[in-house]
Amino acid sequence: MAGESARRSKMTGGRNPSPTLVTPTDTAKHMSTSEATDQALLSLRGITKRFGPVQALTDVTFDIPAGQVTALIGDNGAGKSSLIKTIAGLWSPDAGQMLWRGKPVHHSGPREAEEMGIKTIYQDLALCDNLDIVQNMFLGHEPMRLRQLDEDAMETAARQTLKELSVTTVRSIRQPVASLSGGQRQSVAVAKALVNEAKLVIMDEPTAALGVAQTRMVLDLIKRLSGRGVAVLVISHNLNDIFEVADRIAVLYLGHLVVNGPASDFNRQNAVEYMTTGRASAAASVA
């Protein structure tokens, strides 16, 4: 929790897209190459990935800034999963480069990406139902004291983190995860990423299969996460959620990144057009 104050100060300025990035939608594809580099946490440069004859990703270039929520949208098969798995280190790209705080990185496995601070929360959340909230949050990274698990330290830190995320609906942090609702489970997964020093949290369809109240809770959680200075990359099909929570939007179409810019440049109509056709009609982009 050392760099917390630093992250906090960054976040206050980072709530909205930087003023230097005033980019019209039609040129958005190439806009981020130079301007955003100095403040982007993770920059993708020309990422290309092939699976045999299938071209999953072609020359994908965009930035993920700290303290902001970047939404990655696209139709089925657009390459969203391939892209997040590339970022998460499950495989390396065939071509292109990833820059972490401006320096080229090449992680050879998910472990390295995790150590760097890239935490991916897949839809299954990867929680152990029989363990309680605290045990789940520290799974694999338990602090030790006198050669024993330091339960008290874990409990104190877990409580602190949940408080910062304003997760107040859980009655006790010692209740097993099996007893939690979908939104609460999502909260535990996010808190788990946070106590493990996440700098970039990738969330795959975080609101899928959640009810209205639960979705509300998770969206608030995402905002608070970015409010703490963490970069958030959200994948979702739900445009309502995207427009509610995203600072920036990137659209993938058949493996190409067709557009990328501040969320304010988008509306429902052109977003759908980008997702389904790869470009927006004039009428749509004006609106």
Binding site: L139, D152, R174, P176, L180, G183
Partner: protein, 435 residues
């Protein structure tokens, strides 16, 4: 036991998937602040299906009453001590199987692991080799730990089902055991005698003096009380949720009472001729094993990872846990522990013989763990369950033997107890799941 008091309070926290009552059924002690609340929450949890050790204890009392009515010798001091000694082996093999069941695997080989462990220990301390007794035990534990390592490696590295590997292991271990007996020229007719003067023979055959028993018991209870109280104080100082003081006092009181009862029973003269009194050494030995394993499961990373792997291996893997090693470790522990059971076996028998029935023993291992409340499907259970379960198994056997029923009826009755315990667990769980 089910009374119509299953009223459920209105659901206050709308965001929680669980109502207040349901929540308290899964985590009562996490919510209660006073002794009264704690008792209420605990009672609701029992009705909600998370009954823990209670059904076993209730069953134990019922079985005990039944046998006492049938045979007045059942609750005599002599027979009770006898029961403690008999249950030792069931408890220890139950503990061995608990490691495996928690991982959602099964070990069918550990019955003959007991045999191999017993033979290795007996041969190492007998004439041609003449190792000191403790080196014999170390040798037995190492050999069985190594065989467990082989089984665990086959299961994890080749991805084979543990059922098949350990089924093969059962047969293979039987062969190894017979070969060990053939190899040893002193094993006449497949039997090796244990020198009655060794500590190994005295484990089950000798006892602490009554005074030493009292001193050890008082020291243990005092240590337990001191640890519990200091832990509570440090948690309270850090502002963490602490059990109500009343619960702590009752827990310590219960432990002290159990110790006094145990000592009272064991220290009575249980011989008709001469004097036999004091706590058999095997009792603290078994308690020490259960205590050490409980500590391993609840206070070390390895223990925590065993629960995680048993419930969700994929989540464990993504958390950076070496799942293959954890499963392999479980099989090493299971093997090593079966050697300790072999030690108890040869101590009780005063000899080791190829007639040892590993096939039945492994059933008792599973039965002890499951009757005590450990789930067959991983991630749920504790070492204490094996303690209770092993005791229930030996109570059933002992009681039926006192009644003079035939071995056939004994086997059938034990089977009924096992099936009943599993059914009860399944029924109670189903009730807990249906919301």
């Amino acid at each position: 036991m089910s009374t119509p008091q299953a009223q459920i309070e209105p659901d206050e926290g709308s965001e929680s998937a669980l109502s207040e009552a349901e929540l308290t059924t899964v985590a009562p002690e996490a919510l209660a602040n006073t002794l009264g609340e704690y008792v209420q929450a605990w009672w609701r949890r029992i009705k909600g299906g998370e009954s823990g050790a209670l059904p076993v204890l209730a069953a134990l009392i019922l079985i005990g009453i039944f046998f006492q009515i049938e045979s007045s010798a059942f609750l005599s001091d002599g027979n009770l001590v006898n029961l403690f000694i008999e249950s030792a082996i069931f408890i220890v093999i139950g503990a061995a199987e608990t490691f495996i069941l928690l991982l959602s695997e099964i070990d069918l080989s550990l019955g003959y692991g007991v045999g191999i462990g017993g033979f290795v220990i007996a041969e190492l301390i007998a004439p041609p080799v003449n190792f000191p007794w403790w080196l014999g035990i170390v040798g037995g534990v190492l050999v069985m730990g190594f065989l467990g390592l082989i089984q665990g490696t086959l299961i994890t590295r080749l991805g084979l089902p543990s059922f098949i590997v350990t089924l093969g292991g059962q047969l293979g271990f039987l062969g190894i055991m017979l070969e060990l007996a053939n190899f040893d020229k002193t094993a006449v007719g497949g039997v090796i005698q244990i020198d009655p003067s060794t500590p190994i023979a005295k484990l089950a055959g000798s006892q602490m003096s009554p005074t030493l028993g009292w001193i050890v018991m008082v020291a243990c209870v005092a240590l337990f009380a001191a640890l519990t109280l200091s832990r509570n104080r440090s948690r309270r100082a850090r502002g963490l949720h602490t059990k109500p003081i009343g619960v702590t006092v009752i827990t310590i009181g219960a432990v002290a009472a159990a110790g006094v009862v145990l000592l009272y029973i064991c220290n009575a003269n249980r011989s008709n001729l001469g004097v036999v009194e004091g706590v058999p050494w095997v009792i603290p030995f078994v308690l020490l094993i259960i205590l050490a394993y409980s500590w391993l499961l609840s206070h070390t990373r390895t223990g925590r990872y065993i629960y995680a792997v048993g419930n969700n291996p994929e989540a464990a893997r993504r958390a950076g846990i070496n799942v293959k090693w954890i499963v392999t470790f479980g099989f090493i522990m299971s093997g090593a522990t079966s050697a300790l059971a072999g030690l108890i076996y040869i101590s009780q028998q005063g000899s080791v013989s190829t007639a040892i029935d590993g096939g039945t023993l492994v059933l008792y291992a599973v039965a002890s763990a499951v009757v005590g409340g450990t789930a067959l499907f991983g991630g749920r259970g504790r070492m204490v369950n094996a303690l209770l379960g092993g005791f229930v198994i030996s109570v059933v056997y002992n009681g039926l033997a006192l009644m003079g029923v035939s071995p056939a009826v004994q086997d059938i009755s034990t089977a009924v107890v096992l099936i009943a315990a599993v059914s009860l667990d399944a029924l109670v769980r189903r009730r807990a799941v249906v919301r």
